[in-house]
Subunit: 406 residues, 2 copies
């Protein structure tokens, strides 16, 4: 398996485009994207667990039940959630994309991200989608423009693809994602669109997507807020020519592994580009009775406002890490816990058997100044482990969110 260029257009038979249609006045950034396969695809999707669901999410949940799809239309700027005529707008967007592409409306998935509660201006959306249908591009540039179109407060595009061999054929999975604020693990916490040329049955596609999501997107948090619009969708068009995957055989394992690798790296990039973030915080909790326990503990650490602020200040304030483990809801013996900090600049153990060690503050500072800071908590109570990802809490997070609507 290797990483390749091209994001959502890397797999055979997929094209994409993005443009500025004018959803939010006064901005010239791309705000609408279209992704389409040459042929109908097997489709799977995972959506927000928030009780309040945006109209495009409600619509996609119905569409995805068929296990089929061919195109995705998505906009940024307005979330099309809890707004007047939100469902009408989502359906109009779906219809406009279907007409522009000349395909069945039931094969079009839609997505929106942005401000909640404001109406989606549907005329620019319709005009934009018509234009995009004529601009679809199978080169990496098509993916690039689409990735830009779904960004909100993101500072970096997230696109990635991997290729691998399946029953003697080269196969590919690629994707684009966005997510910077309102990010908290609860099944696909963001917009992420994946495309693949693999031939696979819908049930197995969904199973692989769920498994990949559980150890990637569901293990990141920026701010503990689970959005109303989170969507993770994969379209697989079968054009790789591999033997159709109909059981959990070796090909399934290869595909699932590639999908997990892709999702994990996209998730890491999303956490690293959390609103205002200066550091990616990776927390590995090890030696627990089971993986779920390790995951719950690690999530508590990366979700702790105080730990996040300490990393922003490059302060090895491990007491906050131990405190966060303590309020995770998991029972453990505080006198068994070791805590260490790691980065490119080195490693330092700051607590042993639940008590602080004297450590060199200069070394700790050097470690914490790096872009990625790894916190390892050894619980000495089993042999399972899990890793979760978050980011630091900065002035810029407050700035971005203190004045987001205007």
């Amino acid at each position: 398996m290797k990483f390749i260029e091209g994001g959502v257009t890397a797999a055979k038979g997929f094209k994409a485009a993005g443009t500025h249609c004018g959803i939010r006045q006064g901005r010239t950034k791309n705000d609408i994207a279209l992704i389409a396969s040459d042929v109908a695809c097997t489709a799977a999707g995972l959506f927000t667990k928030n009780q309040v669901k945006a109209a495009p999410v409600q619509l996609d949940i119905k569409i995805i039940k068929s296990g089929k799809g061919q195109a995705i239309a998505a906009n940024s700027g307005i979330a099309n959630a809890c707004a007047p005529n939100d469902m009408e707008s989502a359906i109009a967007m779906q219809k406009a994309a279907a007409e522009a592409l000349g395909i069945d409306q039931e094969l079009v998935l839609v997505g929106s991200t942005g401000v909640i509660g404001q109406p989606l201006p549907i005329e620019p959306v319709k005009k934009g989608l018509k234009e995009l249908a004529g601009m679809l591009d199978e080169s990496p540039e098509g993916s690039n423009q689409a990735a830009w179109a779904i960004m909100t407060t993101d500072t970096r595009k997230k696109e990635l693809a991997v290729s691998f061999m399946l029953s003697g054929k080269e196969a590919t999975i690629g994707g684009i994602s966005k997510g910077s604020g309102m990010i908290h693990p609860n099944m696909g916490t963001m917009l992420c669109y994946l495309t693949s040329d693999v031939a696979i049955e819908a049930g197995l596609l969904k199973k692989a997507l769920k498994a990949a999501c559980d150890v990637s997107f569901n293990r990141i948090s920026v701010d503990g807020d689970t959005s109303t619009n989170d969507s993770l969708i994969i379209l697989a068009n079968g054009m790789a020519g591999n033997d159709l995957i109909t059981e959990e055989n070796e090909d399934y394992a290869t595909f699932a592994n590639a999908l997990t690798t892709l999702c994990t790296e996209l998730a890491r990039r999303m956490a690293a580009d959390g609103e205002g973030a200066r550091h990616l915080i990776t927390c590995t909790v090890k030696n627990t009775v089971d993986e779920k326990t390790a995951e719950t503990l690690a999530k508590s650490v990366i979700g702790s406002s105080l730990t996040k602020a300490a990393v922003f200040g490059c302060d090895a304030n491990w007491g906050r890490v131990l405190c966060a483990l303590g309020y995770s809801g998991i029972a453990f013996d505080q006198d068994k816990v070791d805590i260490s900090f790691h980065s490119k600049a080195g490693s330092i153990t700051v607590a042993k058997n639940g008590k602080g060690l004297a450590f060199d503050e200069d070394i700790a500072l050097a470690i914490l100044k790096e872009d990625e800071v790894v916190i390892v908590c050894d619980m000495h109570n089993g042999s399972s482990e899990a890793t979760c990802w978050g980011c630091d809490l900065t002035y810029d997070y407050v700035k971005i969110n203190g004045d987001y609507r205007t």
Copy 2:
């Protein structure tokens, strides 16, 4: 019932003092407090639910089981948690206070707040407690000095007292509390010391304390971090001369009501003085099937980083409120929810039946500029309600916590 001056020394037979003993070098702020009753008291306490408990909390949990106490010694600067010799230091602190006061060691409760993981310098503590025993003051000034001594990043002292009549006698409950960061509702999330001259049995004292805590301190959050040191303790010495309360009669109801009023006001002040806070955020969720449902929904709103940042920016971004209700774990019909903002400057309804209303941004801004912003969510699904309190997320929160240890 009326509010009176004097905090922890308002009730008959209680004295207090605070001074600077030098726990943290280079600071001259009071860092140690002593509160003592002239006679042994009935005592009750509630402590952090964090799995990791500071040594003084572990010690107090044992002491309080007897239902008796007479004095409280507390320091700020060092949390005496997860540090070398932490339990030895807690016991040494208890012993020093007992010797200075000439009372049984088993009647002394101890508390610490500050940095986790660093050892408590015990010599300054011993010296400080000896001095304090000679300085004990029954005037409001004694309470004032003690309140100052337990503050960390707090900007305002929290002290309060109420007086009321019980079986023809005037009775009083007073208290001091601190808590600014690492504040999240999970049973007594802070240090709070209450004193009363009421005569009441230990079991009923604990019952009244638990009931008061559940609707006050357990309904506030500053940052979602539940501390390792949270303690809420009440000493009742019986000197009011009321008939001993041995059952849930009218006197019990009067006492419990006064205690709840006191705790609620202290909790509100704690939230208002959250680290870096500029606004107190009060969220009332009404018309739910039961009170617990309303509480869970309201807690989710006051805990939302995005809602907190919006209030800091005086931005009536109600979509974040609805989003937070949605990820609370409570099922509801999003098309039934109304949301409004209120303050001294007026009221404005921003969403009706789950959809945004057009509203006057200038009026919204004026409402949100006030010190206390009240968010009311009407779920239209029952007749219960609950109120929770939090504060906004500001640059100063990040600043305070990005560099707290140094």
